[in-house]
Subunit: 579 residues, 2 copies
């Protein structure tokens, strides 16, 4: 039976809802696909469920093609396994935690590595049982600080999460590739534009990891790519360290007065006014080393300070800093932090080998042996010039947290990087043995020895993809779904008052359904054609048929929602044209 | 593609798991359908998911036939709507409550009346929009005090919950009947034995309500039925009040000593030894009125006492008491309670018109005007005889909490009741206007006046039905699924070592799948036929085909799992016999 607008649970909205910022969110609300139940928590209306079911069907088919088997885990999970892996704490405020009536701790699962590991441990014990790849399509929970853009960043959302279990690294690589291939097929079938970028494995632990990003100006992820094919999430870009320089022969470090240099620009101006460089060229911001003080908050809530020396021509990238200091949260040190540390002379903070008491000192990868810097002298209104790494100061390690800029060289030498924004729609991880070790998942190998299983984890944001598709497929009048996920194959508008129009539309709908097509039929008798056309454009089924005045000549209009093209065809041939 | 046991994520267990009490639970664990993740919280393995998908498909088809439209609500819901209807508190410890990072209160929804009401209010505004019936199939959460018997009483479970919205009572009755009819079709198609019984509307509020119970000795619900067709949940049985008796001419009340009468039996014996009845017959327990002190705990946690006078030949039924005093929890008063109320003379508590301070006094419906009782005299070692209701004492109301016994007359005069146990598998409610009023769901009627919508609520325990089916369909060797929900249509065992056996089995599987049948194929080459047969019996697909030695004669064995019948048929005719 067609979906009839005369009784479909739907109310389209002419005005943009106040709660929505981005177009996909506005249109999904206006066209009656979803409704907000709480911040970042959405209800699915019938049209939305139809789209969701189509996405899930494609995901299921390609998971089966990749040999993955479907299971279904609870969302409500006990604390213990997450305690063992440390994630009960590491997730910090992002985890929804609760207690049952017996005061036992539970969580709403943000992801299921622990549970899949334990399930395989429960059922399997031998190398003969492996490899196995399991997945689920399930509601996930993350208490996002800033739920955003409707389905793009929700607090309750649907993910397909798959996990592979192998006896050795070769097996893991094969499993990873099989999922990666399946993802390419899924996104291609869904009609989602995507790029695969190197990712930072971050809090998940593990070795190799790639993200599937859908390029979009509203994306929260920045990624880079080079003409030679390098592509990475900005968090994963590793700045190549330049070659060390000889220390011998470098000018000695000299402290200069530097009052009134609140910015790098003023410092560089002062340097060029007062101090000549040995090589004759001008000083630039890249010759300065600014020492940034960051405050880290551990998942347990402990706050501590670190210093990082970065070239003065670059800002710290907040996301790269988060990745570098994971699982801590990172922010700029506050006035309060500085007040507790009078040894940090604001505006004149300099490198400190070994750090200040309780404050470690790290440097950017560009700070290699023999590089000379203008930097703070740890004394009010003083900077030191020609301060050479490896001679005058050292650091506790490298932290690669400076911004990546368009034109920077790709780490693999494949040319200058360009920057773009994208939305993460999939993520594949080679987890390795982290979870299997923590939860003791071992099997007997061919020689009867217990070996730890190696794992991969593979996620797709099912509900997020719907937002991505809506964002990439709309115009000012409404949504324009790709056929793969459209809530129906054909949308028939019965436009007019005569009964025979409705009869013809019903007949056409029945014929299309008999041919296996799904149909939405606007059979509302007291609604004007103008309103019906607006609703058809808003709802966004790509193929629209108008049964109206043309029927007098035995014709209907075929309306291509995407191109806007409308043309009359004979009623008899309409069916064949549509199928 | 068939499900192949050579790589299916499955491990059958020979031993009963310690965690399981009832057969269905043991077998669902042993046969690899589910695994426990936490008390009352289960993981679905591939075979279990296949059964669940079949149940859900039948439910969806019949909901569509009944004109209901599918939506999907979050499980994570904000407190506010539940606060408005009072259920945030009324649910007591049964509700999983949590806070997000901003300390806002949330709950995991046990049922969605509030949210459906608000959704219809959000979208609809006119009588023209009604009637509408919406449903979802969704994970529900209840923090049961005693999760039990696997899927039978879980804390995370799947329900189909539907809600109807009508402008008037006639519409509600039609919607109720449509859902009730759909339930009959669903349970018939699933092959679940059921009875429809009158139910206590209880904490849900509302007027009419019926339960679908599946008769089972392990059921937690007791229900009654009469030869004349009366059927009710024991909580819903309304004891008919007998006719009042004349007070005139009754003997005066007399207080007698009654030391050493700790039980009703000893009291009756003492009465018969010492006091002759005017009518000459012996005293029986039914002539005594015992005054039971109950402690109620309100959802807010407030404890208070009540007294109820019930005939001495009947015990208080805990479930009927819970229903009568809902939403309070009910237990017998403790020693501590009595210690705080020295006016309650234990063993000799008598009726107290108006109750004791802060303790209301209720009576059983059989206590009508003119009935005379032996009852406590509120004085140590004293009982009063011929204590007549309406003359010597009165009550604050009726509480029908005494046990219902086999042989009791049906309230509608349709004969003596018999008692049986059942498992609640569905529940239909005429909610009326309780939720619409609380949440202000009004629409304009034909005259442009705002009227409050009337609602129904209709639930089916999807995951519970799987346990019910397993409980009703098994033998000592394993499960025996009805065809409607079997994880596959046909189960093929390749029994033997010869390669040609496996080839023949694969060919048969492919042919069956080409005909639209789903197949599980036991293609494990290093497993003995005996183990394969045991697994086949445990897993419980009703139609089994054995490809084995018979192939030498061109034959396979068809094995009916339910009857146990095995017979050889020619390979050529096997396909036709199975289809």
């Amino acid at each position: 039976m067609p979906i009839r607008l005369s009784n479909l649970f739907l109310r389209t909205l002419r005005e943009d809802p106040a709660e929505a910022e981005v177009e996909s969110h506005k249109l999904l609300l206006r066209a009656g696909y979803i409704r907000r139940a709480a911040p970042g928590v959405y209800t699915w209306l019938p049209l939305g469920l139809a789209v969701k079911a189509k996405v899930e069907k494609i995901v299921r088919e390609e998971m089966a093609n990749a040999g993955a088997q479907e299971v279904f885990f609870p969302a409500l999970l006990p604390r213990e396994p997450f305690e063992v892996t440390g994630r009960w704490t590491e997730y910090g405020d992002n985890l929804f935690r609760l207690q049952d009536r017996k005061k036992a701790d539970y969580l709403l699962a943000p992801t299921h590595e622990e549970m899949f590991t334990l399930l395989v441990k429960d059922l399997y014990s031998s190398y003969k049982d492996l490899p196995v790849c399991l997945y689920q399509i399930q509601n996930k929970y993350r208490d996002e600080a800033r739920p955003r853009a409707g389905l793009l960043r929700g607090r309750e959302f649907v993910m397909k999460d798959a996990y592979s279990f192998d006896i050795d690294d070769e097996g893991l690589k094969r499993a990873y590739q099989a999922q990666r291939d399946a993802y390419e097929r899924i996104f291609t079938r869904l009609g989602v534009d995507y790029v695969i970028v190197k990712a930072d494995a971050g809090a998940m632990g593990g070795s190799a990891s790639e993200e599937f990003l859908s390029p979009s100006p509203i994306g929260e992820d920045t990624f880079v790519r080079s003409p030679g094919g390098y592509a990475a999430n900005v968090e994963a870009v590793v700045t190549p360290a330049p070659a060390a320089l000889p220390i011998e022969g470098q000018p000695a470090a000299v402290v200069h007065d530097s009052a009134n240099t609140p910015t790098i620009a003023t410092l560089v101006a002062l340097a060029n006014a007062n101090v000549k460089r040995a090589d004759g060229r001008d000083w630039t911001a890249a010759d300065t080393l600014k020492n940034v003080v960051l405050a880290l908050t551990s998942p347990e809530g402990k706050r501590s300070l670190v210093m990082v020396g970065v070239p003065g021509d670059r800002e710290v990238d907040a996301k790269r800093a988060e990745a570098a200091f994971a699982p801590n949260e990172v922010e700029q040190a506050t006035e309060e932090d500085f007040a507790k540390h009078p040894e940090l002379v604001k505006g004149y903070i300099g490198p400190k080998t070994g750090g200040f008491a309780g404050i470690k000192y790290f440097v950017d990868p560009r700070v290699v042996e023999g590089t000379a810097w203008i930097t703070g002298a740890n004394e009010k209104e003083k900077h030191v010039f020609d301060y050479v790494y490896g001679r005058d100061f050292e650091a506790d390690g490298i932290k690669d947290i400076a911004e990546v800029r368009a034109g920077d060289p790709a780490p693999d030498g494949s040319g200058p990087l360009e920057l773009a924004r994208g939305i993460e729609i999939g993520h594949v991880f080679q987890l390795g043995r982290k979870y299997a070790e923590a939860l003791d998942l071992k099997v007997l190998d061919e020689n009867g020895k217990l070996v730890t299983v190696t794992m991969g984890s593979y996620g797709i944001g099912v509900t997020r993809i719907i937002a991505v598709l809506a964002e990439a497929n709309h115009d000012e009048k409404g949504l324009i779904w790709p056929e793969s996920v459209s809530p129906a194959d054909v949308y028939i508008v019965a436009a007019g008052k005569d009964e025979h129009i409705y009869e013809a539309a019903e007949k056409l709908a029945a014929e299309l359904e008999a041919k296996g097509k799904t149909v939405i039929l606007d059979d509302r008798q007291k609604v004007s054609p103008g309103v019906k056309f607006s609703d058809a454009e808003l709802i966004g089924v790509p193929h629209i048929v108008i049964c109206g005045r043309g029927l007098e000549n035995g014709e209907v209009d075929l309306w291509d929602r995407r191109s806007g093209e409308r043309r009359a065809v004979g009623l008899d041939s309409a069916l064949q044209e549509i199928i």
